[in-house]
Protein backbone atom coordinates (compact mmCIF):
# COMPACT_ATOMS: atom_id res chain seq x y z
CA UNK A 1 0.00 0.00 0.00
CA UNK A 2 2.86 2.32 0.83
CA UNK A 3 4.54 1.60 -2.48
CA UNK A 4 1.34 2.46 -4.30
CA UNK A 5 0.79 5.53 -2.20
CA UNK A 6 4.16 7.03 -3.02
CA UNK A 7 4.74 5.43 -6.40
CA UNK A 8 1.54 6.23 -8.20
CA UNK A 9 1.71 10.06 -8.23
CA UNK A 10 5.36 9.83 -9.29
CA UNK A 11 4.38 7.54 -12.13
CA UNK A 12 1.55 9.82 -13.09
CA UNK A 13 3.83 12.85 -13.14
CA UNK A 14 6.18 10.99 -15.48
CA UNK A 15 3.43 9.76 -17.79
CA UNK A 16 1.35 12.86 -18.30
CA UNK A 17 3.87 14.72 -20.46
CA UNK A 18 4.21 11.58 -22.57
CA UNK A 19 0.45 11.45 -23.09
CA UNK A 20 0.59 15.07 -24.20
CA UNK A 21 2.85 14.27 -27.16
CA UNK A 22 0.23 12.52 -29.35
CA UNK A 23 -2.22 15.26 -28.41
CA UNK A 24 0.19 17.98 -29.50
CA UNK A 25 0.92 16.10 -32.72
CA UNK A 26 -2.80 15.90 -33.42
CA UNK A 27 -3.25 19.65 -32.82
CA UNK A 28 -0.26 20.35 -35.04
CA UNK A 29 -1.69 18.15 -37.82
CA UNK A 30 -5.10 19.81 -37.63
CA UNK A 31 -3.52 23.27 -37.63
CA UNK A 32 -1.34 22.39 -40.62
CA UNK A 33 -4.31 21.18 -42.65
CA UNK A 34 -6.37 24.27 -41.71
CA UNK A 35 -3.75 26.91 -42.60
CA UNK A 36 -2.27 24.91 -45.49
CA UNK A 37 1.01 23.07 -45.64
CA UNK A 38 2.86 25.95 -47.31
CA UNK A 39 2.26 28.10 -44.22
CA UNK A 40 2.86 25.35 -41.66
CA UNK A 41 4.49 22.04 -42.47
CA UNK A 42 2.64 18.95 -41.22
CA UNK A 43 4.26 16.64 -38.65
CA UNK A 44 4.90 14.16 -41.43
CA UNK A 45 6.80 16.73 -43.53
CA UNK A 46 8.85 17.77 -40.55
CA UNK A 47 9.59 14.13 -39.85
CA UNK A 48 10.82 13.57 -43.42
CA UNK A 49 13.04 16.64 -43.08
CA UNK A 50 14.32 15.36 -39.74
CA UNK A 51 15.28 12.02 -41.29
CA UNK A 52 16.97 13.91 -44.12
CA UNK A 53 18.85 16.04 -41.62
CA UNK A 54 20.05 12.95 -39.80
CA UNK A 55 21.18 11.17 -42.97
CA UNK A 56 22.82 14.29 -44.46
CA UNK A 57 24.45 15.19 -41.16
CA UNK A 58 23.39 18.86 -40.98
CA UNK A 59 21.00 18.25 -38.09
CA UNK A 60 23.41 16.55 -35.69
CA UNK A 61 26.22 18.85 -36.75
CA UNK A 62 24.30 22.03 -36.00
CA UNK A 63 22.92 20.65 -32.72
CA UNK A 64 26.46 19.80 -31.63
CA UNK A 65 27.58 23.37 -32.33
CA UNK A 66 24.67 24.69 -30.24
CA UNK A 67 25.28 22.24 -27.40
CA UNK A 68 28.99 23.01 -27.40
CA UNK A 69 28.35 26.73 -26.92
CA UNK A 70 25.62 25.99 -24.36
CA UNK A 71 27.90 23.71 -22.35
CA UNK A 72 30.67 26.30 -22.23
CA UNK A 73 28.25 29.13 -21.36
CA UNK A 74 26.40 27.11 -18.76
CA UNK A 75 29.60 25.81 -17.19
CA UNK A 76 30.79 29.37 -16.69
CA UNK A 77 27.38 30.54 -15.48
CA UNK A 78 27.09 27.67 -12.99
CA UNK A 79 30.54 28.06 -11.46
CA UNK A 80 30.56 31.85 -11.28
CA UNK A 81 26.87 32.07 -10.33
CA UNK A 82 27.22 29.67 -7.40
CA UNK A 83 30.41 31.41 -6.32
CA UNK A 84 29.00 34.94 -6.50
CA UNK A 85 25.68 33.86 -5.00
CA UNK A 86 27.38 32.21 -2.03
CA UNK A 87 29.48 35.26 -1.30
CA UNK A 88 26.50 37.60 -1.54
CA UNK A 89 24.37 35.22 0.53
CA UNK A 90 26.87 35.29 3.38
CA UNK A 91 27.37 39.05 3.52
CA UNK A 92 24.35 41.17 4.21
CA UNK A 93 26.23 44.31 3.25
CA UNK A 94 27.34 43.12 -0.19
CA UNK A 95 23.91 41.64 -0.78
CA UNK A 96 22.32 45.00 -0.25
CA UNK A 97 24.83 46.57 -2.61
CA UNK A 98 24.55 44.07 -5.46
CA UNK A 99 21.06 42.60 -5.25
CA UNK A 100 19.26 45.53 -6.97
CA UNK A 101 21.72 45.38 -9.84
CA UNK A 102 21.42 41.59 -10.19
CA UNK A 103 17.64 41.76 -10.24
CA UNK A 104 17.67 44.65 -12.69
CA UNK A 105 19.96 42.94 -15.18
CA UNK A 106 17.99 39.71 -14.74
CA UNK A 107 14.84 41.59 -15.70
CA UNK A 108 16.00 43.40 -18.83
CA UNK A 109 15.52 41.83 -22.29
CA UNK A 110 19.16 40.95 -22.80
CA UNK A 111 18.74 40.44 -26.52
CA UNK A 112 18.79 44.22 -26.92
CA UNK A 113 22.41 44.17 -25.80
CA UNK A 114 23.43 41.56 -28.35
CA UNK A 115 25.07 44.09 -30.72
CA UNK A 116 27.50 44.96 -27.93
CA UNK A 117 28.51 41.31 -27.62
CA UNK A 118 28.94 41.10 -31.34
CA UNK A 119 31.04 44.22 -31.36
CA UNK A 120 33.43 43.01 -28.68
CA UNK A 121 33.55 39.28 -29.30
CA UNK A 122 32.99 38.82 -33.02
CA UNK A 123 31.36 35.77 -34.53
CA UNK A 124 31.47 32.20 -33.37
CA UNK A 125 31.63 30.07 -30.26
CA UNK A 126 32.97 32.89 -28.15
CA UNK A 127 30.04 35.25 -28.60
CA UNK A 128 27.47 32.46 -28.38
CA UNK A 129 28.89 31.12 -25.13
CA UNK A 130 29.25 34.60 -23.72
CA UNK A 131 25.69 35.53 -24.60
CA UNK A 132 24.46 32.23 -23.13
CA UNK A 133 26.48 32.89 -19.98
CA UNK A 134 25.00 36.39 -19.76
CA UNK A 135 21.53 34.83 -19.68
CA UNK A 136 22.35 31.94 -17.34
CA UNK A 137 24.50 33.64 -14.72
CA UNK A 138 21.78 35.74 -13.08
CA UNK A 139 19.26 33.08 -12.08
CA UNK A 140 22.04 30.88 -10.71
CA UNK A 141 23.51 33.75 -8.68
CA UNK A 142 20.12 34.98 -7.44
CA UNK A 143 18.86 31.54 -6.41
CA UNK A 144 22.12 30.68 -4.67
CA UNK A 145 22.24 34.04 -2.90
CA UNK A 146 18.69 33.67 -1.61
CA UNK A 147 19.25 30.08 -0.52
CA UNK A 148 22.37 30.97 1.45
CA UNK A 149 20.80 34.09 2.96
CA UNK A 150 17.61 32.24 3.97
CA UNK A 151 19.41 29.42 5.73
CA UNK A 152 18.29 29.45 9.39
CA UNK A 153 20.90 30.99 11.69
CA UNK A 154 20.39 28.08 14.06
CA UNK A 155 22.03 25.71 11.57
CA UNK A 156 25.24 27.70 11.81
CA UNK A 157 24.99 27.74 15.60
CA UNK A 158 24.61 23.96 15.61
CA UNK A 159 27.67 23.71 13.37
CA UNK A 160 29.66 25.85 15.78
CA UNK A 161 28.65 24.11 19.00
CA UNK A 162 29.38 20.80 17.27
CA UNK A 163 32.90 22.17 16.65
CA UNK A 164 32.78 21.68 12.91
CA UNK A 165 35.66 23.16 10.98
CA UNK A 166 35.05 25.39 7.95
CA UNK A 167 35.09 22.57 5.44
CA UNK A 168 32.76 20.40 7.55
CA UNK A 169 30.41 23.34 8.01
CA UNK A 170 30.28 23.80 4.27
CA UNK A 171 29.93 20.13 3.39
CA UNK A 172 27.69 18.94 6.21
CA UNK A 173 25.47 21.99 6.75
CA UNK A 174 25.57 24.75 4.15
CA UNK A 175 25.71 22.56 1.07
CA UNK A 176 22.83 20.20 1.93
CA UNK A 177 20.75 23.09 3.30
CA UNK A 178 21.02 25.11 0.11
CA UNK A 179 21.53 22.49 -2.61
CA UNK A 180 17.87 22.00 -3.61
CA UNK A 181 17.50 25.74 -4.24
CA UNK A 182 20.84 25.92 -6.04
CA UNK A 183 19.75 23.07 -8.30
CA UNK A 184 16.59 25.03 -9.06
CA UNK A 185 18.74 28.03 -9.95
CA UNK A 186 20.86 25.84 -12.21
CA UNK A 187 17.71 24.59 -13.91
CA UNK A 188 16.57 28.13 -14.73
CA UNK A 189 20.15 29.04 -15.57
CA UNK A 190 20.40 26.22 -18.07
CA UNK A 191 17.14 27.11 -19.83
CA UNK A 192 18.23 30.71 -20.17
CA UNK A 193 21.76 29.86 -21.30
CA UNK A 194 20.24 27.64 -23.96
CA UNK A 195 17.94 30.47 -25.01
CA UNK A 196 20.84 32.91 -25.14
CA UNK A 197 22.93 30.62 -27.32
CA UNK A 198 20.12 29.89 -29.81
CA UNK A 199 19.31 33.61 -29.97
CA UNK A 200 22.93 34.47 -30.67
CA UNK A 201 23.03 31.85 -33.39
CA UNK A 202 19.86 33.19 -34.96
CA UNK A 203 21.21 36.72 -35.14
CA UNK A 204 24.75 36.25 -36.22
CA UNK A 205 26.60 33.02 -36.34
CA UNK A 206 28.66 30.95 -38.76
CA UNK A 207 26.78 27.80 -37.75
CA UNK A 208 24.59 26.09 -35.19
CA UNK A 209 20.93 25.14 -35.11
CA UNK A 210 19.83 28.72 -34.42
CA UNK A 211 21.40 29.90 -37.63
CA UNK A 212 19.76 27.09 -39.60
CA UNK A 213 16.39 27.95 -38.06
CA UNK A 214 16.83 31.59 -39.06
CA UNK A 215 17.77 30.61 -42.63
CA UNK A 216 14.81 28.22 -42.84
CA UNK A 217 12.46 30.93 -41.61
CA UNK A 218 13.89 33.35 -44.19
CA UNK A 219 12.96 31.04 -47.07
CA UNK A 220 9.71 29.96 -45.39
CA UNK A 221 10.85 26.36 -45.10
CA UNK A 222 8.71 25.44 -42.08
CA UNK A 223 9.46 21.73 -42.42
CA UNK A 224 13.16 22.34 -41.91
CA UNK A 225 12.51 24.87 -39.15
CA UNK A 226 10.38 22.38 -37.25
CA UNK A 227 12.87 19.56 -37.85
CA UNK A 228 15.33 21.75 -35.93
CA UNK A 229 12.93 23.06 -33.31
CA UNK A 230 11.65 19.64 -32.24
CA UNK A 231 15.08 18.23 -31.23
CA UNK A 232 15.90 21.50 -29.43
CA UNK A 233 12.65 21.26 -27.49
CA UNK A 234 13.34 17.63 -26.63
CA UNK A 235 16.85 18.43 -25.40
CA UNK A 236 15.58 21.36 -23.30
CA UNK A 237 12.82 19.25 -21.76
CA UNK A 238 15.12 16.33 -21.00
CA UNK A 239 17.69 18.50 -19.25
CA UNK A 240 14.99 20.42 -17.41
CA UNK A 241 13.51 17.10 -16.30
CA UNK A 242 16.93 15.96 -15.14
CA UNK A 243 17.27 19.02 -12.93
CA UNK A 244 13.74 18.56 -11.60
CA UNK A 245 14.51 14.97 -10.74
CA UNK A 246 17.72 16.02 -8.98
CA UNK A 247 15.83 18.73 -7.10
CA UNK A 248 13.32 16.14 -5.92
CA UNK A 249 16.07 13.79 -4.81
CA UNK A 250 17.77 16.52 -2.79
CA UNK A 251 14.67 18.03 -1.19
CA UNK A 252 14.18 17.42 2.52
CA UNK A 253 10.68 16.12 1.98
CA UNK A 254 11.91 13.35 -0.29
CA UNK A 255 10.75 10.76 2.20
CA UNK A 256 7.17 11.47 1.19
CA UNK A 257 7.90 10.83 -2.44
CA UNK A 258 9.52 7.55 -1.56
CA UNK A 259 6.27 6.41 -0.06
CA UNK A 260 7.21 6.23 3.61
CA UNK A 261 4.51 6.49 6.25
CA UNK A 262 2.76 9.83 6.52
CA UNK A 263 3.11 12.57 9.06
CA UNK A 264 2.94 11.48 12.65
CA UNK A 265 1.26 13.80 15.05
CA UNK A 266 1.79 13.92 18.78
CA UNK A 267 4.53 12.46 20.96
CA UNK A 268 4.67 8.72 21.37
Amino acid sequence: MHALHGGFPALRRGLFPLLLIPLLLAVWQVLASVVGETTLASPYMAFVELVDGLSQGWLLGSLLVTMHATTVGFGLAAVSGVWAGSLLGVSRFWREVWEPLLLAVYAIPKVTLFPLFLFFLGFGLMVESAFGFFHGFFPVAIFTMNAVAAMPATYMKVARVTNLNRWQTFRMVMLPATLPHVVNGLRFGFSLTFLGVVLAEMFASPGGSGKLIASAVAINDTARMLALVVPLVVIALLINGGFLWLHGRLSPQRAFRQGATGTLVGGS
Binding site: T154, T162, M172
Partner: protein, 279 residues
Amino acid sequence: MLELVDVCKHYGSTESDGGTVQALQDVSLSVKEGEFVSIIGSSGCGKSTLLEIVAGLVPASTGELRIHGERVDGPNPRVGMVFQEESTFPWLTAQANVEFGLRAAGVSRVAATKQAREMLHLVGLHGFENHYPDQLSGGMRQRVAIARALVTRPEVILMDEPFGALDEQTRIVLGEELLRLWQGTGSTVLFVTHSLSEAAMLADRIAVLSSRPGRIIELIEVTLPRPRSSEIIGTPAFTAITGQLWKHLQREARRSAGLEDVRAQQQTAEADSLTLGAS
Protein backbone atom coordinates in the same frame (compact mmCIF):
# COMPACT_ATOMS: atom_id res chain seq x y z
CA MET B 1 32.96 22.81 37.75
CA LEU B 2 31.47 25.55 35.58
CA GLU B 3 32.16 29.07 36.70
CA LEU B 4 31.03 32.41 35.38
CA VAL B 5 33.00 35.29 36.83
CA ASP B 6 31.67 38.86 36.49
CA VAL B 7 30.41 38.28 32.97
CA CYS B 8 29.19 41.44 31.23
CA LYS B 9 27.89 41.76 27.73
CA HIS B 10 27.07 44.89 25.84
CA TYR B 11 26.18 45.34 22.21
CA GLY B 12 27.02 48.20 19.89
CA SER B 13 30.26 50.14 19.75
CA THR B 14 30.72 52.79 22.38
CA GLU B 15 30.23 56.29 20.99
CA SER B 16 29.53 55.79 17.31
CA ASP B 17 25.91 54.73 17.58
CA GLY B 18 24.68 56.51 20.64
CA GLY B 19 25.96 54.30 23.39
CA THR B 20 25.65 50.61 24.06
CA VAL B 21 22.94 48.23 25.09
CA GLN B 22 23.93 46.39 28.19
CA ALA B 23 22.59 42.84 28.02
CA LEU B 24 24.31 41.29 31.01
CA GLN B 25 25.85 42.88 34.06
CA ASP B 26 28.31 41.19 36.40
CA VAL B 27 26.87 37.72 36.20
CA SER B 28 28.71 35.35 38.49
CA LEU B 29 27.55 31.79 38.90
CA SER B 30 29.25 28.65 40.06
CA VAL B 31 27.73 25.35 39.00
CA LYS B 32 28.70 22.05 40.60
CA GLU B 33 29.38 18.90 38.63
CA GLY B 34 26.14 17.10 37.79
CA GLU B 35 24.01 20.00 38.96
CA PHE B 36 20.85 21.09 37.16
CA VAL B 37 20.60 24.87 37.16
CA SER B 38 17.71 26.76 35.67
CA ILE B 39 18.05 30.36 34.55
CA ILE B 40 14.76 32.19 34.61
CA GLY B 41 13.86 35.70 33.63
CA SER B 42 11.42 37.74 31.64
CA SER B 43 11.84 38.03 27.89
CA GLY B 44 14.76 40.13 26.75
CA CYS B 45 16.65 39.75 30.03
CA GLY B 46 19.71 38.33 28.31
CA LYS B 47 19.28 34.74 29.45
CA SER B 48 19.82 33.37 25.95
CA THR B 49 22.86 35.60 25.57
CA LEU B 50 24.23 34.16 28.80
CA LEU B 51 23.85 30.66 27.43
CA GLU B 52 25.44 31.60 24.11
CA ILE B 53 28.41 32.99 26.02
CA VAL B 54 28.81 29.67 27.84
CA ALA B 55 28.48 27.85 24.51
CA GLY B 56 31.21 30.06 23.05
CA LEU B 57 28.91 31.37 20.33
CA VAL B 58 29.32 34.99 21.43
CA PRO B 59 32.24 36.40 23.39
CA ALA B 60 31.67 38.04 26.76
CA SER B 61 32.54 41.74 26.82
CA THR B 62 34.27 41.38 30.16
CA GLY B 63 34.57 38.66 32.73
CA GLU B 64 35.40 35.04 32.14
CA LEU B 65 34.13 31.53 31.89
CA ARG B 66 35.93 28.59 33.47
CA ILE B 67 35.35 24.89 33.14
CA HIS B 68 37.23 22.84 35.74
CA GLY B 69 39.11 26.01 36.59
CA GLU B 70 40.33 26.39 33.02
CA ARG B 71 39.49 29.54 31.12
CA VAL B 72 37.36 28.83 28.05
CA ASP B 73 36.86 31.02 24.99
CA GLY B 74 34.90 29.78 22.02
CA PRO B 75 33.07 26.53 21.30
CA ASN B 76 34.24 23.56 23.26
CA PRO B 77 33.61 19.83 22.76
CA ARG B 78 32.81 19.52 26.47
CA VAL B 79 29.75 21.70 25.98
CA GLY B 80 26.64 20.65 24.06
CA MET B 81 23.62 22.77 23.28
CA VAL B 82 19.94 22.39 22.49
CA PHE B 83 18.18 25.34 20.87
CA GLN B 84 14.64 26.59 21.14
CA GLU B 85 14.21 27.04 17.41
CA GLU B 86 13.96 24.22 14.94
CA SER B 87 17.49 22.89 14.72
CA THR B 88 17.18 19.37 13.36
CA PHE B 89 18.41 19.13 9.79
CA PRO B 90 15.46 18.43 7.49
CA TRP B 91 17.61 16.65 4.92
CA LEU B 92 18.73 14.00 7.41
CA THR B 93 16.75 11.20 9.03
CA ALA B 94 16.39 11.18 12.82
CA GLN B 95 19.19 8.62 12.96
CA ALA B 96 21.50 10.66 10.71
CA ASN B 97 20.72 13.83 12.69
CA VAL B 98 21.94 12.15 15.86
CA GLU B 99 24.97 10.65 14.12
CA PHE B 100 25.87 14.12 12.81
CA GLY B 101 28.01 15.28 15.73
CA LEU B 102 29.67 11.89 16.11
CA ARG B 103 30.62 11.68 12.45
CA ALA B 104 31.97 15.23 12.54
CA ALA B 105 34.13 14.26 15.51
CA GLY B 106 35.58 11.37 13.55
CA VAL B 107 33.73 8.50 15.22
CA SER B 108 33.60 5.48 12.91
CA ARG B 109 30.43 4.82 10.96
CA VAL B 110 29.69 1.57 12.80
CA ALA B 111 30.18 3.08 16.26
CA ALA B 112 28.21 6.22 15.35
CA THR B 113 25.29 4.16 14.05
CA LYS B 114 25.20 2.11 17.23
CA GLN B 115 25.49 5.05 19.63
CA ALA B 116 22.92 7.10 17.75
CA ARG B 117 20.46 4.22 17.77
CA GLU B 118 20.90 3.75 21.50
CA MET B 119 20.45 7.46 22.12
CA LEU B 120 17.26 7.59 20.03
CA HIS B 121 16.02 4.64 22.03
CA LEU B 122 16.80 6.52 25.25
CA VAL B 123 14.80 9.57 24.17
CA GLY B 124 11.90 7.28 23.27
CA LEU B 125 12.20 7.45 19.50
CA HIS B 126 12.84 3.79 18.91
CA GLY B 127 11.29 2.89 15.56
CA PHE B 128 11.56 6.42 14.19
CA GLU B 129 15.20 6.18 13.11
CA ASN B 130 14.43 6.47 9.42
CA HIS B 131 11.88 9.26 9.69
CA TYR B 132 12.70 12.71 8.45
CA PRO B 133 12.03 15.68 10.75
CA ASP B 134 8.97 16.75 8.76
CA GLN B 135 7.43 13.38 9.51
CA LEU B 136 7.81 13.92 13.26
CA SER B 137 5.86 16.11 15.68
CA GLY B 138 7.48 19.21 17.21
CA GLY B 139 8.10 17.37 20.47
CA MET B 140 9.69 14.45 18.67
CA ARG B 141 11.93 16.76 16.66
CA GLN B 142 13.08 18.41 19.85
CA ARG B 143 13.89 14.99 21.30
CA VAL B 144 16.02 14.31 18.21
CA ALA B 145 17.83 17.60 18.89
CA ILE B 146 18.34 16.56 22.52
CA ALA B 147 19.63 13.15 21.43
CA ARG B 148 22.02 14.88 19.03
CA ALA B 149 23.40 17.04 21.85
CA LEU B 150 23.64 14.17 24.35
CA VAL B 151 25.17 11.54 22.09
CA THR B 152 28.64 13.12 22.14
CA ARG B 153 28.51 12.90 25.97
CA PRO B 154 29.29 16.54 26.74
CA GLU B 155 30.01 17.38 30.38
CA VAL B 156 27.86 20.48 30.21
CA ILE B 157 24.53 20.63 28.41
CA LEU B 158 23.05 24.01 27.64
CA MET B 159 19.37 24.18 26.93
CA ASP B 160 17.85 27.39 25.62
CA GLU B 161 14.11 27.03 26.23
CA PRO B 162 14.16 23.67 24.48
CA PHE B 163 10.45 23.14 25.04
CA GLY B 164 9.48 26.77 24.55
CA ALA B 165 7.66 26.17 21.28
CA LEU B 166 5.58 23.28 22.65
CA ASP B 167 2.25 23.23 24.42
CA GLU B 168 2.30 23.02 28.20
CA GLN B 169 1.30 19.37 28.55
CA THR B 170 3.98 18.21 26.11
CA ARG B 171 6.42 20.46 27.88
CA ILE B 172 5.72 18.82 31.25
CA VAL B 173 6.00 15.32 29.82
CA LEU B 174 9.25 16.10 28.03
CA GLY B 175 10.60 17.77 31.16
CA GLU B 176 10.00 14.52 33.03
CA GLU B 177 11.81 12.61 30.29
CA LEU B 178 14.69 15.04 30.47
CA LEU B 179 15.03 14.43 34.22
CA ARG B 180 15.17 10.71 33.60
CA LEU B 181 17.88 11.16 30.94
CA TRP B 182 19.86 13.58 33.07
CA GLN B 183 19.86 11.18 36.02
CA GLY B 184 21.27 8.52 33.69
CA THR B 185 24.11 10.68 32.34
CA GLY B 186 25.09 12.80 35.33
CA SER B 187 25.85 15.77 33.08
CA THR B 188 25.76 19.33 34.29
CA VAL B 189 22.79 21.21 32.87
CA LEU B 190 22.13 24.91 32.39
CA PHE B 191 18.49 25.26 31.42
CA VAL B 192 17.03 28.58 30.34
CA THR B 193 13.30 28.96 30.66
CA HIS B 194 10.64 31.56 31.32
CA SER B 195 8.27 29.04 32.87
CA LEU B 196 8.10 29.16 36.65
CA SER B 197 6.83 25.59 37.00
CA GLU B 198 9.33 24.19 34.52
CA ALA B 199 12.19 25.72 36.49
CA ALA B 200 10.78 24.43 39.79
CA MET B 201 10.16 20.94 38.47
CA LEU B 202 13.57 20.45 36.90
CA ALA B 203 16.24 22.37 38.73
CA ASP B 204 18.45 21.96 41.77
CA ARG B 205 18.97 25.69 41.80
CA ILE B 206 17.27 28.52 40.00
CA ALA B 207 19.06 31.72 39.04
CA VAL B 208 16.58 34.58 38.69
CA LEU B 209 17.67 37.20 36.18
CA SER B 210 16.50 40.81 36.24
CA SER B 211 15.31 42.42 33.05
CA ARG B 212 17.87 44.31 30.97
CA PRO B 213 20.60 44.53 31.96
CA GLY B 214 20.45 40.94 33.18
CA ARG B 215 21.79 40.47 36.67
CA ILE B 216 21.28 37.52 38.95
CA ILE B 217 18.92 38.95 41.54
CA GLU B 218 18.32 35.72 43.42
CA LEU B 219 19.56 32.15 43.59
CA ILE B 220 16.89 29.81 44.82
CA GLU B 221 17.70 26.36 46.16
CA VAL B 222 15.09 23.79 45.15
CA THR B 223 14.96 21.21 47.89
CA LEU B 224 12.26 19.02 46.37
CA PRO B 225 13.31 15.36 46.64
CA ARG B 226 14.74 13.46 43.66
CA PRO B 227 13.88 11.56 41.59
CA ARG B 228 11.06 13.90 40.71
CA SER B 229 8.09 13.42 38.49
CA SER B 230 5.35 15.74 37.34
CA GLU B 231 3.34 14.53 40.36
CA ILE B 232 4.99 17.26 42.41
CA ILE B 233 3.17 19.97 40.45
CA GLY B 234 0.67 21.53 42.78
CA THR B 235 2.14 20.16 46.02
CA PRO B 236 2.62 22.85 48.71
CA ALA B 237 6.42 22.61 48.51
CA PHE B 238 6.25 23.09 44.73
CA THR B 239 3.91 26.04 44.81
CA ALA B 240 6.03 27.62 47.52
CA ILE B 241 8.89 27.70 45.03
CA THR B 242 6.90 29.00 42.07
CA GLY B 243 5.40 31.60 44.42
CA GLN B 244 8.83 32.64 45.55
CA LEU B 245 9.99 32.90 41.93
CA TRP B 246 7.03 35.06 41.04
CA LYS B 247 7.73 37.41 43.91
CA HIS B 248 11.12 38.08 42.43
CA LEU B 249 9.96 38.18 38.86
CA GLN B 250 6.75 40.17 38.91
CA ARG B 251 8.41 43.55 38.99
CA GLU B 252 10.79 42.51 36.21
CA ALA B 253 7.92 41.14 34.18
CA ARG B 254 6.01 44.41 34.52
CA ARG B 255 9.10 46.32 33.59
CA SER B 256 9.76 44.29 30.45
CA ALA B 257 6.09 44.52 29.48
CA GLY B 258 6.28 48.30 29.78
CA LEU B 259 3.78 48.39 32.63
CA GLU B 260 5.96 49.65 35.43
CA ASP B 261 4.37 53.09 35.65
CA VAL B 262 0.81 51.92 35.35
CA ARG B 263 0.67 50.36 38.72
CA ALA B 264 3.79 51.84 40.25
CA GLN B 265 2.05 52.92 43.40
CA GLN B 266 0.23 49.68 43.82
CA GLN B 267 3.54 47.92 43.24
CA THR B 268 5.28 49.79 46.06
CA ALA B 269 2.38 49.10 48.35
CA GLU B 270 2.59 45.40 47.56
CA ALA B 271 6.33 45.37 47.97
CA ASP B 272 6.01 47.01 51.38
CA SER B 273 3.60 44.43 52.56
CA LEU B 274 5.89 41.56 51.58
CA THR B 275 7.86 40.25 54.48
CA LEU B 276 10.56 39.09 52.06
CA GLY B 277 10.87 42.54 50.52
CA ALA B 278 11.70 41.81 46.91
CA SER B 279 14.63 43.89 45.78
